[in-house]
Amino acid sequence: MKSRAPADVVVVGAGPAGLAAASAAAERGRRVLVIDQGLKPGGQIWRHQHEADLPRTAQRLMARARRAGVTIASEARLVDVASSNELIVDFRGRIDTQQTGALIIASGARERFIPFPGWTLPGVVGVGGLQALLKGGLSVAGARVVIAGTGPLLFPVAAALARAGAQVLVVAEQASRAALMAFGMSLVTSPDKMAQAMRYRGAFLATPFRTASWVVRAHGHERLAQVVLQERGRLRTLDCDWLATSAGLVPVTDVAELAGCALDAGAVRVDAQQATTVSGVWAAGECTGVKGDAAAMVEGEIAGRAAAGDARGAADRTRARERQRGLRFAARIARTFAPRAELLQLADDATVICRCEDVRRGAIDPAWTQRQAKLWTRVGMGACQGAVCGPACAALFGWEGNTVRPPIGGPACGAWRDALDRIAPPSS
């Protein structure tokens, strides 16, 4: 089997941070390979079928990456981190080792789902989830959609659905009006963000936007038919075809954890040059804290420069200022859109908490530790290895996530084994 050419820098994730990091490193002469599981680059926020549909910033960054000679492996998934210099990657179904000098983790964010009765019905999807499906070719023309979630994701998703012909019945934001107003005021210093928000709102003007509002339960037989919304102290029932709901975003940290990187409150810990606690490993973008694409790009730029050995460039003052702005924005997002306490009371004993292993709320004693529950009920031990129930249980019980163990993504034993056999023996 032909082994893959070693890279100077491997970037995990081709979203805004990953593309910026890859471009910066490649422009400094490094051989850069981006590993991305999407069909095309762009991560979640810049998911597309046609590049011309992307915002100009995205198109420019993609062009920059191409000019710089970055190689992007699409439909490629990280399976294991044997060391900071040796990865095991599933390249479109073929599992292989990939050597690298430096590793930049730009694994992005995922949605947090807080369970409520009926959330496992087909037709209940994430807010970003419905947008991802839409961009993947889902038809929503004429479909009745309820959007209930929190944070900056709601507006662009509502706009995209409305433009695709969906009947968006309501957009429910669980944060309070006061919190949202304060957040809106803070955007005054970012006029383009303000303008963007207003453009989005314009696309679904006919749809009511409610604050302090959230889904209490979903009903249906074999498929979603109705949701019950809490609105200003009253319950309202809506017939619908899709419920797009989540409780904000959380960093994706499994790759970093496999690499041995320390986390802070569920985000990868980095210094001002985006270096993690593991030598030779950097992290940038949403995985170090949810902060939006603009801030992610700045962090990617810094990480790419640092990983390419450009210490001066990585410490550049303009980038540092922009990075700080991004961190402040991240803090405002976290404060404004933190899931309210009422969401934690929605699940009843029969509500599934761990979707992979069908562990219901009633099977878990809140006094248990995460490991206790894991061993006694197998919560988090199924196919997704806690990616969905982990953030839910963190919110419900205060648990830290599962210990991440290899492999990621459930590779076939034989193919994983073949790759394991090719890794270099440990030096110690």
């Binding site: 999407g38 949605e111 496992t120 994430g126 499906l133 993947g136 070719g137 889902l138 196919a383």
Partner: protein, 82 residues
Amino acid sequence: MSADITIVVDGVPRRVPAGTTLAAALFRAGVTAFRRDLSDAPRAPLCGMGTCFECRVVVDGVAETRSCLVGVREGMRVETGQ
């Protein structure tokens, strides 16, 4: 590129637009149960990005394939939980 291609879903040929993800195509084909859980209840995609594993179907004989991460291909054979 909006040409249609044919995939076979649970033995039935379906025309779907090229360039779509398999998950989106399966919804278009009227699938609501991508898989079944331990009490045989239907499950369908939740996260849309390969995290939740609810979208698993059998693709060309390979079980446990996340349909949201796979693009449709001419002649693809898919088995769902329908």
